[in-house]
């Protein structure tokens, strides 16, 4: 532990690494099923606000807030997913970014809106300033346990009939449908699962950072979450976890570089994207990099295709 602390990974950094790993997994689920959805920050916001209101205004314990936040996101995901998941690729991305913005702006104006409807003064989300003074009640063991349980569910999911259907939908939606897979059901179920996971991270993180405001859940946050998955790689569940860890820890480890920290951080990330296009957790990517370093000629196109697959 002292070693970790000496390179800049304090307890709070480690906790945020775990939270970001969960966020990475939430976007991994949809990417794995072939859906380029960027709604995760929106669901994270729903989880965070519902969770904080439950612990602060209703004095509920963290686990109840966690369930409440996850439920709320799951319920919202149903009517959003049904129409939006008919879209694909960049169109789906734009629509889900739109959803995130709607959530953010609704939270921003919630008090004004609720006040004008009810006729009384409502102070729940507290507008742009957000909610402060949230007690730091999320503990490391809780985060670890949550991550381990999530990974177990993912591993078993991949080994199930439903998990195989997810991979089939990603590779060829039409062929999957004619193999008897209900594509609409698979996509929506995964979207809901992803939303619930993002919301759980929202609840847990809110009770770590002690403040939340609508600005925390904007487009920046979505890009961060996407970066966890892209940097780590989406061929296995380990990728987004490593991505979340590295992207959270790296800026801390690079503290020594002082004002050049941002530059070094950026260069490292760029090198990973350029030289390991399959992400950090991709054995074939490392092998290919190793061959390149040793100057061996590249293998035939067919084998390369199989490896990137």
């Amino acid at each position: 532990m002292d070693l970790l602390r000496s390179i800049g990974i304090t307890e709070i950094v480690f906790q945020l690494m775990l939270v970001n790993a969960i966020l990475g997994l939430s976007i991994y689920l949809t990417l794995y099923t072939g859906m380029f959805s960027l709604a995760n920050a929106g669901f994270m916001a729903i989880g965070a606000y519902v969770g904080v209101v439950l612990t602060q205004n209703y004095d509920l314990p963290l686990w109840a807030a966690l369930i409440g936040g996850m439920l709320a996101a799951g319920v919202v995901a149903v009517p959003i997913g049904l129409p939006v998941l008919r879209l694909r690729d960049i169109y789906l991305a734009i629509a889900t970014i739109g959803f995130g913005e709607v959530v953010r702006i609704l939270i921003l104006n919630f008090d004004t809106l609720a006040s004008s409807i009810s006729g009384e003064s409502v102070q729940l989300t507290r507008g742009a300033l957000g909610i402060t003074g949230i007690p730091k009640i999320t503990e490391t063991w809780q985060l670890l346990l949550f991550l381990v349980v999530t990974v177990y569910i993912l591993v078993r999911l991949h080994r199930s009939r439903f998990g195989r259907a997810m991979a089939a939908v990603r590779q060829d939606e039409q062929a999957a449908a004619t193999m008897g897979i209900n594509v609409v059901y698979v996509k929506n179920a995964v979207f809901i699962f992803s939303a619930i996971l993002a919301a759980s991270a929202g609840v847990l993180k809110a009770h770590l950072t002690r403040t939340i405001s609508p600005g925390d859940y904007g487009f920046d946050q979505v890009v961060n979450i996407l970066a966890f998955a892209v940097l780590g790689g989406t061929s296995t569940w380990l990728g987004p976890i490593v991505g979340g860890f590295v992207l959270t820890a790296l800026p801390e480890i690079l503290r020594e570089f002082k004002q050049y920290r941002g530059i070094v951080n950026g260069v490292i990330l760029l090198m990973v994207i350029v030289y390991l296009p399959g992400g950090l957790v991709n054995i074939n990517g490392w092998k290919r990099l190793w061959r390149r370093i040793r100057g061996q000629p590249s293998v035939t196109g067919k084998i390369q295709d199989a490896e990137t697959g």
Partner: protein
């Protein structure tokens, strides 16, 4: 078994199918031939639910199916292959066959989470069925290879095995011999004939006339979206309309590089 009544499909102003009537009897191997662009694949897409008719009805075993989504149609017992092979190339041969048995399993994610006996029994059953199919299509040693890395002929056979794994009563084959040499084509013909011995009904789109004559009990000829002839292979062979429309077109298409 399968009955199409006045099925039409319009793509904007293009009449891809026009008032197609077709009746496939149980236990038969029915051929569907026609020049390129005649609407054969559109017809298969409409039967399998990937596309829906603009007008007309399709019944399968007395049930109306023309508005059902594809997975429901597969569930009722209609399977298909694709002209341009559409295997799940990033998955192993075995996984391809497990996926296509999706509708035959009941185990939920929860069963998988806690390893219920139902989950384990079902996984074993699906795997056994898949291995049997691999044996039958001479793919036995390849169960753990990536489907996308198989040689072309093996991919073709896997495509057919995958369709069979859904447990169909009616099998739609969209140009199953495309790109095969004469020996492979004949072997595939024998496989198709074996399907009939197992009480399967087959509708096969084909360009290869030798295969059509080898396996088909009757033939429909489609041209510009319309059925222009129907009968036994011998009758069709001597139908002047077919010779003019189909064979004439075929030459044109070949000259044009199609």
């Amino acid at each position: 078994m399968l009955e199409l009544k006045k099925v039409s499909r319009l793509f904007g102003g293009l009449q891809a199918l026009h008032q197609v009537d077709m009746h496939v009897l149980e236990g038969r191997i029915v051929g569907l031939i026609g020049p390129n662009g005649a609407g054969k694949t559109t017809l298969i897409n409409n039967i399998s639910g990937l596309d829906h008719p603009t007008s007309g009805t399709i019944h399968f075993e007395g049930r109306e199916i023309h508005n059902l989504p594809p997975h429901r149609i597969t569930g009722l017992g209609i399977a298909r292959t694709y002209q341009n092979i559409r295997l799940f190339g990033e998955m192993t041969v075995l996984e391809n066959l497990l996926i296509s048995q999706h509708g035959r399993g009941q185990a939920t994610v929860f069963d998988s989470l806690v390893f219920t006996p139902r989950f384990r029994a079902e996984e074993r059953r699906l795997k056994d069925a898949a291995l049997q199919l691999l044996e039958r299509f001479q793919l036995a040693g390849m169960a753990h290879l990536l489907a996308g890395n198989l040689p072309y002929g093996d991919q073709r056979r896997l495509e057919m095995a995958r369709a069979l794994a859904t447990g169909p009563k009616l099998l739609l084959l969209d140009e199953p011999t495309a790109g095969m040499n004469p020996i492979e084509t004949e072997q595939l013909g024998e496989q198709i004939l074996r399907l009939r011995d197992e009480q399967l009904t087959v509708l096969v789109i084909e360009h290869d006339m030798s295969l059509i004559h080898q396996v088909c009990d009757e033939i429909y000829v489609l041209n510009f979206g319309q059925i222009i002839a129907h009968g036994t292979p011998d009758v069709i062979k001597h139908n002047p309309q077919v010779i003019e429309a189909y064979l004439g077109r075929e030459e044109d298409a070949e000259l044009a590089g199609g």
